[in-house]
Symmetry: C2
Subunit: 456 residues, 2 copies
Amino acid sequence: MENPSEKLARAAKAAFEASQLIDSSTRVKALKIITDELASLKGEIEKANKLDLEAATIEVEAGRLSSSLVKRLDLFKGDKWDAMIQGVLDVSALPDPTGNVSYATELDDGLELYRVSCPIGVLLVIFEARPEVVVNIASLAIKSGNAAILKGGKESNNTTVLLAKAIRKALEKADLPLDYIQTVQTRDEVNSLLALDRYIDLVIPRGSNSLVKNIQNNTRIPVMGHADGLCHVYLDESAAAEKAVRIVLDSKMDYPAACNAAETLIVHQSLLNSLWPSVAKALLDQNIELLCDQPTLDALSTVTPAPANISTHVKPSSKESYETEHLSLTLSVVSVPSLQAAIDFINTHSSHHTESIVTESQQAASVFCRGVDSAGTFVNASTRFADGFRYGFGTEVGISTGRIHARGPVGLEGLVTYKYVMQSKAANGHIVGEFGSSDGKKKYKHQKISEARLPF
Amino acid sequence: MENPSEKLARAAKAAFEASQLIDSSTRVKALKIITDELASLKGEIEKANKLDLEAATIEVEAGRLSSSLVKRLDLFKGDKWDAMIQGVLDVSALPDPTGNVSYATELDDGLELYRVSCPIGVLLVIFEARPEVVVNIASLAIKSGNAAILKGGKESNNTTVLLAKAIRKALEKADLPLDYIQTVQTRDEVNSLLALDRYIDLVIPRGSNSLVKNIQNNTRIPVMGHADGLCHVYLDESAAAEKAVRIVLDSKMDYPAACNAAETLIVHQSLLNSLWPSVAKALLDQNIELLCDQPTLDALSTVTPAPANISTHVKPSSKESYETEHLSLTLSVVSVPSLQAAIDFINTHSSHHTESIVTESQQAASVFCRGVDSAGTFVNASTRFADGFRYGFGTEVGISTGRIHARGPVGLEGLVTYKYVMQSKAANGHIVGEFGSSDGKKKYKHQKISEARLPF
């Protein structure tokens, strides 16, 4: 007998298939209706969110939950509600990611081939505390034509159930299949869904390192996202002092808990007694803890006057220092003898997210960007720029450290694949047997067609 | 202690990383040298290939191997050797798939972002009898800048060892890392490699359904390829008779063992007593066995005069008929009441490879191409067109029925991913802290840049 998860996943696939015949303008209309439904349920949602917050507060007081989680749970803090609604409208206003032609060629007179973008199928999106992610992800899925199964954190259950209700009502009013967006509540359901590669095409985990790793290790379905964000800044031999200080500080401090914050600083050894002490001083002035290898440690010990907090904030590093995503005001530091050694260090220790070089040499910049095997390689710019909004995508589905399908910050484009559509306009259609290398056989033309959208 | 497979995979990754700093013209040069090395080893390779053939012939005579395998083993049959050499030269002449910019934007004055194509990393390619695949795949990997680990069939071992030797010599002469292309011989080695997702980025199995399924089920590394090629032709209500006959025959008969050959014919019920009997007659004239559902069977029983081989070649279908990739002169047949039913049948039974509709209705064509969830959806064209060379890619890495990364016939583009390269030209570099919504903060420009190649 079919288990409940299988029924749900099959329904999602059926909803996806049915939706392919619905015009994209209907999906955009549904997004507008979602904002209306959310508005009319706002009072109810506010009450439900209060219940979630109260329950979580009790857990925090009992020491079973972190207090930062409560902040993320609160859907009505500051402008969060309005930002969520605006987010849906923003997504609805983005260009349609489907129906775009990326390759088109005439194989023969009247035989046209188009590679056209289309939704992937069924997405399984797993996230943690923040309830508004249900609405974010639902709008991205609807906009791109994918069906989605969403699992939020159990702490936000009262809230997400109502958010899902608003979405479901909107789907109904827009004549979209009801199973297009479904939610599940338990980890057990997720575990069953992760086995259903027949129905589910892509898993997108958004949350902690352990959440993502656990999912990656337990499914054959492709997973898009990142577990670690272990980003590096490298100060090249030719690094300019002011740039170096600005970029290191911003990469570390702008938002230390973000995946694109720097965790390790790599210093060319020629800078040990020149630039390094001034960068260290700027970091120590901001109370950043430095975990240093022997050469960078030694260099600091001779600086006069010694920085005030050197005894409390400068410590020797260990092997683990360079494998740790601190996500806090701690920075690991290592020195290297050459640009090539810096590249090798990064390729060995990085999570392949984003790395930056500070340099005045265009040659070093070019070598760094080619040699570093990461989703983002930056020159004289903070690692914190690695972000879908900053890149100009209008929205961000997540950041991928995988190399397959999508890499780095992922916009709506990451939620589409393509199919090949071929049409013969010849009186008798087209068959392969007419083509060949021998006399009297047709040859392929491969004449480029310039069409941006599928013409039928 | 590190096991031998881990050492090999780590060496492949190191070779990949080192090769990133080598200009693509060097890789093209290596391809030319490969053809020279093969030419100078030709006599030796011919002897080795004879040994493989003799051993295989004994196995065939003992009934332990199929005779078709011997044909595939023979590297000197017809123009196979010359075609292999020409293939390397063809690949070397294709446009460089790396270094192409697919997105470029100026985030701020002097802050430029480029999305640029680059190799994926380390490929593990597993294939069966045909020894020339070693050379094909090595040239694709070298051209695209990926390292590769290759495993051929054990029957071709003597031949592939020498082919690999020629490749290795060429790498040496071209100053490319020697571990760039490595070969392994045993299934055990492959099994260990499939666990090494830390070093291996993509697995490409080329071979039988069972080979591919076995690999898909035993690795967390992304797999590109297809297990089944269960393709359908649908005769729509408005299908024209001559087109229908030509397309069905070509789809089934042009090369029945190919993955893009049709396995199931879907007939609109309005055609049961008109077009269907004439299509069936054309198929029976070619001695194609038809596995029919009750309506198509009944329709044939009333045809006068009855086709000569109707009693031997027309049989009732079972549920399994529609789940079987016949790869032979057998065709399953089913009737449906509507276009939508045909789409549903395909989406349920297809391997999502390639499907074709025969129709005179542009509306039906459009609905079919949108509603059928397969890598290829064709109108009035044989399913046999689904092929990288026919699509105009110059070469074919394989055909993917996955939806992630690459779908359908895959050319060199399927062997590249992209990275984001950002460069600040500002006097003090660029930091995120300068940007924001409040007064005095910078706003992102997102001004499109038109560069086809990375400018540095």
